[in-house]
Subunit: 277 residues, 2 copies
């Protein structure tokens, strides 16, 4: 017997589509419906088996016992109120957005059994075409409960992520947004700014370093605009901290201070060992 | 018949060792000797077959008809004068350093048949242990001749790179250093500064974006200190250009200017398409 009778996916892109495929593969839902602003995405999601039925109309969500919000953050914020009116009171709702404080506040206010989530499984390769059922295998997934979070819904969502292969852990929404401002949103801002600053003529012979540093500059504008705009204060702080660091580097460089340059490199290298074994 | 009778490699690390392995594999030299400041590197290079004989003493280079300078830039600058006294007048000398103006000026003054080269095949994985004969396969290799460059030596070096599998192209040393300041040295400076600015606690859940952006922060300190120090003016300019871009991003972010953020992202994305198809 499946865990859910009717699962609804709002936003059948890379993440939403992959959840659909994984629900199907692991037989976790009797029926999977999807909604998107793009017919093409719904058609492809149905062909791939990520959903059984799709519609641009949110009313397709009626009767769901679980709804996954996988649209860009500001779309989630705009739709939460409407969705609340369409689904049963006891329907579990989770989102997968990359920023959490705004979504948890807004969706938590309108949706009774809402649980905020952020699987660290995104990619610059967006869209249903790149969806795959094993996208979450071994991926970290941050769940961001607050005081008013329904504990049964929280446990159901945690178990769902484990079933999808992810490694869930809990963190408050504000702490999440601050950590991710540094670990994810800042690197993205830098990738965009780095490309902006390099004259096009110098891109002819691109070393691997530049390719790696700018991979994420191919990321979707809407998704990233929404992430930036819903984490402005933390990201501004992170950019300021980074600007201090690059200024210190520039200053050591311009005064020919080998000792300071080596110290900066040594500290960076030892920190790097914490993230890449 | 081999192209060279005795090839000498100064600095048996990743690049020098890979050249030795490739010369051996393609039977381009009757004898290959190596020199390094580290006995361990020479022992390993001999075991791997990158050299026949090794010594910390530069006099092992006597009688070479080709010498490859593959030490960190400032070591090359310090050794060029001594090497000139040890090798035959007509010995071809090439280097593989990542900055070219200082090396070409210094080595070109002391070494009669010097040709500056920069194969774009480096890695954060340094040392002879990572050397492999196909390191240069399909790699771009920038050769930086100047007016006084010996044309026979230049053609011999160009052909050697083709034999090693690389795709050589010519560029002036100053133009090279300016382009690479933006395309390579700036990304490295950013990777170091980025890690410097992220609190260690936030590295626990590192998304792929951060891993990619900081891979090169594992690069060798001596090599990179030398690169930075021999390209100070261009790299300072590149950092300044980048700081303007990140400031513009921060400013758009802090005033909530979605339109400007999207324009920055769109420009970056279209530039990225020039480097990563």
């Amino acid at each position: 017997m499946a865990v859910f009778k009717k699962a609804g996916i709002v936003g059948t892109g890379l993440i939403g589509g992959s959840i659909g495929l994984a629900l199907r593969q692991k037989k976790l839902a009797d029926e999977i419906v999807g909604t998107s602003r793009h017919d093409s995405s719904l058609i492809r999601a149905r062909r791939m088996g990520a959903i059984d039925r799709g519609s641009r109309d949110l009313r397709i969500l009626s009767g769901c016992d679980i709804v996954i919000l996988a649209a860009p953050v500001q779309t989630i914020l705009a739709q939460a109120g409407r969705i609340q009116k369409l689904i049963p009171q006891n329907c579990i709702v989770m989102d997968v957005a990359s920023t959490k404080a705004a979504v948890v506040k807004k969706a938590g206010a309108s949706l009774k059994r809402f649980v905020g989530c952020h699987p660290l499984a995104g990619s610059e390769k967006q869209g249903i075409a790149h969806a795959r059922p094993d996208l979450f295998k071994n991926a970290a997934c941050i769940i961001t409960p607050v005081k008013q979070t329904d504990t049964t819904a929280l446990e159901a969502v945690r178990r769902l992520w484990v079933r999808l292969g992810a490694q869930p852990r809990m963190m408050g929404p504000a702490a999440h947004d601050r950590a991710l401002a540094y670990a994810s949103h800042l690197p993205h801002a830098i990738a965009f700014a780095l490309l902006e600053s390099i004259p096009a003529a110098y891109l002819a012979d691109s070393p691997q370093s530049l390719r790696d540093m700018t991979r994420i500059a191919g990321s979707g504008h809407e998704v990233w605009n929404d992430i930036f705009m819903t984490n402005r204060a933390d990201l501004t702080d992170a950019i300021d901290a980074f600007m201090q660091s690059i200024k210190a580097f520039r200053s050591a460089l311009s005064r020919g201070d080998t000792h300071s340059l080596r110290r900066i490199m040594a500290r960076a290298r030892s920190k790097k060992q914490r993230i890449i074994p």
